[in-house]
Structures are given as structure tokens and as C-alpha cells.
């Protein structure tokens, strides 16, 4: 999908109007951002916003996130284990250190 984020009132208003008149192409509206269908029309609308508002519009192309393909098992297993922890107040860093899960600092520097 195409993620369109706006950074000014003018751009936000244009996005709102675009969303109103193209709800078949707008997959999701999120405040001053929206997800457009990855079609030529979606691209056309994104290009229009870019042409009109320049730096006040950011367009990214997104892809579905598959944690089983993109992430090593230790990371996703740590996430599941942490959400299943017994004491909700334990911060992850402490949880990870005690149980041999990936360290948050190391994960921060490791690109997918």
C-alpha cells in the first residue's frame, strides 16, 4: 500500500478531501495520514498531493509484515514470552537479561 503522511494544514485538508472523494482507493484513514491502495489511481493521488504540497507530504510504499519471514525466531519468541510474563511491571530489558532473550540495544542496531 501507499502510506501518505501530511505535515501542514493545507496538505491535511487536501488529503481529507481526497479521502472523501476516493473512498474506494483509500484503504485506511489515520488522522493526518492515510493508506492508499497500491494501484495506479492510488499512485496518481499520492503524486497529486506531492505535486501540490511538496515537502509537506511524505509517501512511502508499505508491504505486509511477515514476522516468520523477516525476523529471526529469537526476536518474535521473546515478544510472545514477554507479553506472557507473570509480573506486568517488569521492564523488557530486565526480563530479557534474566531469561536469555535478545537485548533491546542489540535489537535496536540490527536491521531486518
Amino acid at each position: 500500500m501507499l502510506l501518505v503522511v501530511t505535515y501542514s494544514r493545507g496538505a491535511r485538508t487536501t488529503l481529507r478531501n481526497v479521502c472523501r472523494s476516493h473512498d474506494d482507493t483509500v484503504v485506511r484513514r489515520l488522522g493526518r495520514a492515510a493508506l492508499f491502495a497500491e494501484t495506479e489511481l492510488g499512485a496518481f493521488l499520492a503524486c497529486r498531493l506531492r505535486a501540490k504540497h511538496g515537502s509537506d507530504v511524505q509517501v512511502e510504499r508499505t508491504e505486509p509484515f511477515n514476522e516468520f519471514a523477516a525476523v529471526r525466531p529469537a526476536v518474535r519468541e521473546a515478544a510472545v514470552a514477554y507479553e506472557d510474563r507473570e509480573t506486568p511491571s517488569t521492564p523488557y530489558a530486565k526480563f530479557a537479561a534474566g531469561d536469555d532473550h535478545p537485548d533491546p540495544a542489540a535489537m535496536r542496531d540490527a536491521e531486518l
Binding site: Y7, S8, R9, R12, R32, R50, G54, S55, D56, Q58
Partner: protein
């Protein structure tokens, strides 16, 4: 909310007022008088500002302050700083678009040259196979073909290598441009948040200030009503009582003058121009007011009622 003494500017001189009237238009008169045409109290026209705005401006004119004023000032100062940040960062969209274009071209070049090299490799292999199978008589010509193809293939391979180098460079440049624009967007995002916050704060302040002076405003409207006959004059009064005047901002009808004012600006549904004039009256302005509505018969009466110097110009 407190009232403090307001420094009054020196009243405009008669000559200036005359020159302003001679300008003939609202904009012209404002320019002569050095008034801001967007000031909701500077002009009286058939397109009055919102009652909230006019009343809040009147409250300010009377020296009212609001507990949120400090926060409003702080937000404005922050916004100015962020505005400067955004200006410093510049408009990177052209540079970013150029970087995207370069990366796309470089990527397409690599694909095209890779295909070309693969095709040439295939033809070269075929030519070599033919050469070894050929009879001696043809072998010279076949070897010439192989040599030519080999040269072409080598040139294509070199071009591909260069294109791949360019693609790496273009992608790096794009990544750098994206990184720079991310920092610039942080400033823009902050500016947007501050603008929204400032707008909300201003609206709250406007609302409170307008409510505070609403009783004085209601009194002013009542005075207008009791003076209506002399202020509106024979001509307007006759027209007011006439039927078929469908102009929304037309004239003060009997209905609007007797409308119940309610408890706040939301409840007021009387004539918008009269309401605007009442807001100007309670502001007790020292500065002149440019009047471009034809419902007031004489400058003297209006001047007396508004309590400010008045300049008449023709309605737009």
C-alpha cells in the same frame, strides 16, 4: 480575567478622516488610516466577522486579559522558532525528487544492461559452438564473428559494471536525502502540532472573552433598538418594514431588533450587522471605524452611537 488601562492612540485628525473617506473603498480607507482590514472592529460592512471574533476583539480593546494568554504567547514564540527551523531546513522536495529519479534511472539502466549482456553471452556461446563445428573454409569468417561478439560482450559487461556502481551511489544518495528530509519533517510535524495547539488556545480564549462582554453587548443591542428610529432614519426604517427583502445581511428587521439575546453569542440570532456594530460600540475604540453599510443615515448619529471616529465609504 482583568481589565487594564489601554494606551489609546491619538485620535485621527479630521483631515485624515476626510482623505480616508475620499479613498472611497474599505481597503483604501483602511490604508489611509493605517488600520488592519482584518481587524474585526476596524470596519463595518455587509459581511460581518463572526460574533465570537468581534466580541473577543472588543474585550481586548477594553483591556481584558485571559489566564491562557501566557500559554498562547509561549506557543507563539515556540512556533516562530520552529518556523525558523523549517525555513532553515529549506524545501527538500526537489532534491528528494531528483534523488528518487536518479535511483530509478540507475536501477533501470542496470536491468537493461544486464539483459543485454546476457543476450550477448548467449550469442557468443552459440557462435563459438558453430566455429568448432564449421569446416575449415568457413572458420575464418566465423572467428571474425566470434571476435566481434566478444568485443561487444566485453563492452556490455564494462557498461554493466559502471551502471552497477552508479546504482550503488544513487541509492546511497537517496538514502542520505531521505535521512535529511526526515529531520526536516520532524520540524514540520512540530510546527503543525504547535499551530493546532495555538489555534485551539486562541479559540478557547476568544470564547471566554466573548462570553464575558456578552452582557455589555446585549445592552448595546438594546440601546440600538431604542435608538433604532433615529439611527436607522426614515429611509432605512421604511425599507425595513417592507416585505420581500431576502438579503441575508440586508437590513435590521423588526424581528432582529426584538430577538431575545440569550445567554451567549451562540444564542444570538438577531441581525449580524447590528450585532457587529454593537461589538464595535462596546469596544469603545479610539481608532476610527470604516463604515460601508448604507443603513446608517448620518455619520454624526453613527459616530455618536459607536463612540468612535467614523469614515463612510460606499458599500462594496
Amino acid at each position: 480575567m482583568t481589565e487594564r488601562p489601554v494606551p489609546r492612540s491619538a485620535p485621527a485628525e479630521a483631515a485624515t478622516l476626510r482623505r480616508a473617506a475620499e479613498a472611497g473603498t474599505v481597503e483604501g480607507a483602511c490604508a489611509v488610516l493605517d488600520l488592519d482590514p482584518d481587524d474585526p472592529l476596524a470596519t463595518l460592512t455587509d459581511r460581518p466577522p463572526s460574533l465570537w471574533r468581534a466580541l473577543a476583539a472588543a474585550a481586548r480593546e477594553r483591556g481584558r486579559e485571559h489566564p491562557l494568554d501566557d500559554e498562547r504567547r509561549r506557543l507563539r514564540t515556540e512556533l516562530e522558532a520552529v518556523d525558523a527551523d523549517v525555513d532553515d531546513a529549506g524545501d527538500a522536495s526537489d532534491a528528494l525528487a531528483a534523488a528518487r529519479r536518479r535511483a530509478a534511472t540507475a536501477g533501470a539502466d542496470v536491468e537493461r544492461l544486464r539483459e543485454q549482456a546476457a543476450t550477448l553471452r548467449g550469442r557468443l556461446t552459440q557462435a563459438r559452438e558453430r566455429t568448432s563445428a564449421d569446416t575449415e573454409a568457413d572458420s575464418d569468417a566465423a572467428e571474425t564473428t566470434v571476435d566481434a561478439l566478444r568485443a561487444e560482450f566485453e563492452a556490455a559487461t564494462r557498461a554493466l559494471t559502471e551502471a552497477e556502481t552508479e546504482r550503488v551511489a544513487a541509492e546511497q544518495a537517496l538514502a542520505d536525502a531521505v535521512e535529511r528530509s526526515r529531520a526536516a519533517r520532524d520540524a514540520r510535524e512540530r510546527r503543525l502540532h504547535l499551530r493546532d495547539a495555538l489555534t485551539n488556545r486562541r479559540r478557547e480564549i476568544r470564547r471566554d472573552l466573548a462570553r464575558e462582554v456578552y452582557p455589555a453587548f446585549v445592552d448595546a443591542v438594546a440601546t440600538f433598538r431604542s435608538n433604532a428610529a433615529c439611527i436607522l432614519g426614515g429611509d432605512s426604517a421604511t425599507r425595513d418594514s417592507g416585505v420581500g427583502d431576502s438579503d441575508a445581511h440586508g437590513t435590521a428587521s423588526d424581528g432582529s431588533l426584538t430577538a431575545r439575546p440569550g445567554d451567549g453569542p451562540d444564542d444570538f440570532d438577531g441581525d449580524a450587522v447590528v450585532a457587529h456594530a454593537a461589538a464595535v460600540r462596546i469596544a469603545d475604540r479610539a481608532d476610527p471605524v470604516v463604515v460601508a453599510v448604507d443603513r446608517f443615515p448620518s455619520p454624526e448619529k453613527v459616530h455618536e452611537w459607536l463612540g468612535s471616529p467614523v469614515v463612510f465609504v460606499a458599500p462594496d
